[in-house]
């Protein structure tokens, strides 16, 4: 017998707040007006018919797992680590209605303004000029499907597109959970996010500048003047041979362990050295990633977590090549890479919670082979005076959770190069500072859908980053309607 669609009554808490006339932000006529409109829209949307898929699965609203979605709280992290199982006997699909389909969509219509203080143009006498643009825009789309195939066998498939609709598989894996009924034995294979407690995939900022953790993605800047002045052999490009970022999903096998309460966690992953790119485009090498964290509780404050991680990667510097049948420059043959050189990323963090305030400092130290940084084949003689670059990253992220529906985010990152590629480069060449401030207001909350109004401002400043070697400042102003259904 077909199941009838069920009408969801308006959220009780929201209704109560409307009756009392109490809203998280009522200061300021503009805010009050805008929010009243949005609340009406939100309340209207809750009267729609729906079959809440996640309510069927877990019976929990999104705030149970998310501090502010998509950022996980301790319970959500435990749910994730336990293979999307909440730990009762109803986790197996055999207990779930055949109509249940664990799918979700995330999309973010937005308005944003971008400014580059030193955009390279043909029209500028100096070669660079300030440029700003603004307008309404669209994000890419994430089509989530995740759940469990059988008790203790979980999966996730995430087809994802860019703004133009070009799809790729951002993530896709199967995980064998709680092997031998032990939370200490979990094995995952496929393409997945590294086991990072400070997750870039669940970050609350979305703008072009503030939408990534720079300390996860920074690559050393090549001083163009020093490179031009150096003795170069054929094939040297001055461009890094890896676009590696710690926030990128990677392909491989992960062994993960955690205690029953998830307070103690560690993992080790063996990863294909391709920065998550499919079809084995580089070499036969493997990377490794290790992570560990420990959560403790201080009664009056809350859960405190500290941890560390380390990534040791390789990237080929040489390839077998083939000249196209129609002529032209030889092209690298995918998978034929050799002459591998190494890079490392090591870091530590604390997630310090003091009631409504979370303070998250994180530190990283990174090194890279100069062959990778300059794109110099391993059999070439290195230019005189070049060294393996290294740099340090610091981040301080603050979250203030006013209530279930309102969270403020502030973040400061800096990157300081501790060893430049060229000895002749200035000590601070390529150094970077990034500041981001944002808030997310979630006008309603239930287990199937989420909407966040997300204003944000972010600014980065990098020494010597422009095309002519001058400093470059990028700013993003952003407001998005971030929704998941």
């Amino acid at each position: 017998m077909p199941r009838q669609a069920i009408t969801i009554s308006p959220d009780e808490e929201l209704s109560a707040r409307i009756k009392r006339g109490r809203f998280p932000l009522r200061r300021g006529r503009f805010c009050a007006t805008a929010m009243a409109i949005l609340l009406l829209l939100a309340a209207e949307s809750q009267t729609a018919s729906a079959i809440p898929a996640f309510a069927k699965k877990t019976g929990l609203r999104c705030s149970a797992c998310h501090e502010a979605w998509p950022k996980l709280n301790a319970f959500g992290q435990n749910f994730r680590d336990n293979g999307y199982q909440i730990g009762n006997e109803r986790d197996s699909p055999r207990y779930i209605s055949p109509l249940y389909w664990p799918a979700g969509v995330r999309y973010t219509p937005q308005w944003h303004r971008e400014r580059n203080s030193a955009q390279a143009t043909n029209q500028s006498a100096s070669g660079v000029q300030p440029l700003s643009t603004q307008g309404f825009d669209l994000s890419g789309i994430d089509l989530w499907t995740a759940g469990i195939l059988e008790k203790n066998i979980s999966f996730l498939v995430l087809p994802s597109s860019d703004e133009y609709g070009n799809f790729h598989f951002e993530s896709g894996w199967v995980r064998f959970d709680n092997l031998h009924q032990k939370p200490w034995l979990n094995v995952k294979a496929g393409k997945f996010e590294l086991d990072e407690m400070i997750s870039e995939k669940r970050m609350l900022t979305l703008s072009q500048v503030g939408g990534i953790y720079q300390i996860y993605h920074y690559l050393p800047l090549v001083d163009p003047q020093a490179f031009a002045a150096s003795t170069q052999a054929a094939g040297e490009t001055g461009v890094s041979t890896t676009g590696f970022g710690l926030g990128d999903n990677q392909l491989g096998l992960e062994f993960a362990s955690h205690s029953h309460d998830d307070y103690t966690r560690f993992s080790a992953a063996l990863l294909t050295s391709s920065d998550g790119n499919v079809n084995l485009p580089t070499s036969k090498a493997y990377d490794t990633f290790l992570a560990a964290s420990r959560q403790i509780n201080i009664n009056s404050l809350g859960p405190e977590t500290f941890g560390a991680f380390s990534y040791i990667g390789q990237s080929p510097t040489r390839y077998l090549t083939q000249t196209p049948s129609g002529g032209g420059a030889p092209v690298n043959i995918a998978g034929s890479g050799y002459g591998n050189k190494t890079f490392t990323r090591t870091g530590g963090f604390v997630m310090f919670s003091a009631k409504k305030l979370d303070v998250v400092p994180m530190f990283t130290h990174a090194t890279e082979s100069v062959n990778i940084a300059l794109g110099i084949p391993s059999n070439d003689t290195l230019p005189a005076g070049v060294r393996n670059p290294s740099w340090n990253g610091r981040m301080l992220e603050l979250y203030y959770t006013q209530n279930l529906q309102f969270i403020v985010i502030a973040r400061y990152e800096d990157i300081r190069n501790s060893r430049q590629i060229f000895a002749s480069s200035a000590g601070n060449f390529g150094d970077m500072d990034v500041e981001t401030i944002a808030f997310r207001w979630m006008p309603f909350m239930h287990s199937r859908a989420g909407l966040a109004i997300a204003p944000e401002y972010s600014k980065s400043h990098q020494i010597g980053a422009s095309a002519i070697g001058s400093n470059q400042t990028l700013t993003s102003a952003f407001i998005g309607l971030d929704f998941a259904f």
């Binding site: 705030s63 319970f75 749910f79 730990g87 009762n88 307070y263 509780n297 809350g302 530590g348 610091r394």
Partner: protein, 270 residues
């Protein structure tokens, strides 16, 4: 670099301090904070239990069994005698453990203090807690030896007390009365199927099962047998019910298997 090193040392020192200072608090030493519980209840609980704690959250229509109605002040899993209010620790333990065959998850990963804060807050939904003190937890005597004789006696008690009427002869929860059972709110409440899970509703240990027999599950058809069972009888029944739980390796099942399996239960009871 000096600043970076200094901050790195600071983080390591902070981690060390947290390691030393952050021992897991004992629940008995916790004192719940009503205000914080009130603030956190909506995040974790009121989607099912409702803003008024009456079990009428927005998700309640989709849940079976229905969420607990805290306004009634009636709790299944208690250490206190039937009819008495539970202790804070009883509610805390239930929240930590979750319910094995319901949507209620185990909240063990929430900080202990937060769990106790929510306990104190949800008690405020029922006027009973304002006027009554919680009951005194029952005394659980030492467990008797797990022997085939004890299991046989337990088998006899299972029949004598007519447990099979609800739970079925093999513990599948399919006894003849099963379809008619309802809870205190007249909602259907199928009896527990011992064979389906590795846990019992109110805990996983033999002591938990003993406690359930003696306190009953208030608000459900599972009454207290404290006036029908001696402590030794109750342990015998625990040992027999364990043998029905075929999904979990247990000493009881090993003893039964060694004695020749279920056939041995048909021998004359001692």
């Amino acid at each position: 670099m000096k600043v970076f090193r200094g901050m790195s040392v600071g983080v390591i020192a902070l981690g060390a301090v947290l390691c030393v200072a952050g021992q897991q608090p004992q629940k008995a030493k916790l004192s719940g904070n009503f205000a914080n519980g009130k603030e956190q209840f909506p995040r974790y609980c009121n989607g099912c239990h409702g803003v008024r704690g009456d079990g009428k959250g927005t998700l309640a229509p989709y849940l079976d069994p229905k969420p607990r109605d805290y306004t009634m002040g009636i709790f299944k899993c208690r250490s206190t005698p039937t009819g008495a209010l539970p202790t804070d620790e009883d509610i805390y333990d239930t929240m930590t453990r979750g319910f094995v065959t319901a949507a209620m998850p185990p909240w063990a990963s929430l900080p202990p203090q937060l769990r106790m804060d929510i306990v104190v807050y949800l008690k405020g939904f029922s006027p009973r807690f304002a006027h009554e003190a919680p009951g005194i937890p029952i005394t659980i005597p030492g467990e008797t030896a797990i022997t085939i004789d004890s299991i046989k006696r337990g088998s006899g008690l299972y029949k004598k007390l007519e447990c099979a009427k609800c739970h079925g002869a093999s513990g599948h929860g399919n006894g003849p009365d099963a379809p008619t059972l309802v809870n205190i709110k007249h909602e259907p409440l199928p009896p527990y199927d011992f064979t389906a899970t590795e846990r019992f509703k109110c805990g996983v240990t033999n002591r938990d099962l003993y406690r359930t027999f003696m306190t009953g599950m208030d608000g459900s058809p599972m009454v207290s047998y404290a006036d029908k069972l001696t402590p030794d009888d109750a342990w015998d029944l625990v040992h027999y019910v364990r043998t029905l739980q075929t999904t979990r390796k247990s000493e009881e099942n090993r003893v039964l298997e060694t004695a020749g399996g279920e056939k041995s239960l048909n021998a004359a009871h001692p």
